[in-house]
Symmetry: none
Subunit: 139 residues, 2 copies
DNA sequence: AATTCAATGATACAATTAGTACAATATCAA
DNA sequence: TTGATATTGTACTAATTGTATCATTGAATT
């Protein structure tokens, strides 16, 4: 885990928006292995102060990188470079975690004394609730 | 009474809050029989030190598990895995606990990127496996 | 010059974790 | 048994982090 200081050079006259420059340079530093998966990035406020910009500008850059799955921002905790998604392994791992997760869920449900039928019913119910909650968000 | 060491692996970059990871992993270890009803869990301070985390974070995880009736925390005494089936626990609480468990499971499955259909399919599959394993035990 | 709109800034908020003091219980010696 | 001390969980607060929303600015367009 490298902890090299993130040293970004902004050009305020280039015409490129600050947030775009931040996005690009972080991608560059990642490409050049100056920063690595797992590394914590400066907080939005720390980087903003260093660059003499508003922290919302940094937050905007982070959000773009987050949406691109390049970094992972976590409210209250910080921002981290996403672990490499190993192209072919990730899908396998993803399924394995899912399978294990489900196994644990079922074991716990049985421990609580519920039957196979009740488990399926509860999964249906909660999936329905989940869907309704998601719909509400889109209103 | 098993006294196997509770060995939790935290991922500080996973996006999942620490307290959530603690909750999940304790449930896992319970589901996998690594810890059993009646077992005493590490004290909030001991586990916190082991995980290099503030003890309030552990306390928060314990409180969630306590509310789900999975563990029983007792001020001045310690924290224990609830005996099964919780004799004094009402049917209502049992269902609430089940509902909360299912909700967590579904949220985690979605976080892993699986669809409603895939979740239902996986639950079916693992229920089948569970049944087969149980049959084998009776041979 | 007026309008528009993207970029940035200001402010308030929410989530997570840490710090500190306290209350309940256990332990043990007198 | 009683009292002192240690241990354990609880409550409340503070600090740190990212998020959401709206206001301001400034350059491009008309």
């Amino acid at each position: 885990m490298s902890d090299k200081k993130l040293s970004l050079q902004l050009d305020f006259h280039s015409g490129l928006p600050i947030y775009t420059q931040i996005v690009n340079q972080i991608q560059n530093q990642l490409a050049n292995k100056i920063i690595q998966p797992g590394d914590q990035l400066p907080t939005v406020r720390a980087l903003a102060e260093e660059l003499r910009v508003n922290f919302n500008t940094v937050a905007r850059a982070y959000r773009i990188l987050d949406e691109a799955r390049i970094i992972s921002t976590q409210q209250g905790r910080g921002t981290y470079i996403t672990e490499i998604p190993p192209p072919e392994v990730s899908e396998k791992l993803r399924h394995e975690s899912f399978s294990a997760l489900t196994k644990r869920f079922i074991a716990e449900a049985f421990r609580l004394g519920f039957s196979e039928r009740e488990i399926r019913q509860m999964v249906r119910d909660r999936l329905q609730l989940h869907k309704e909650a998601a719909d509400k968000d889109n209103e």
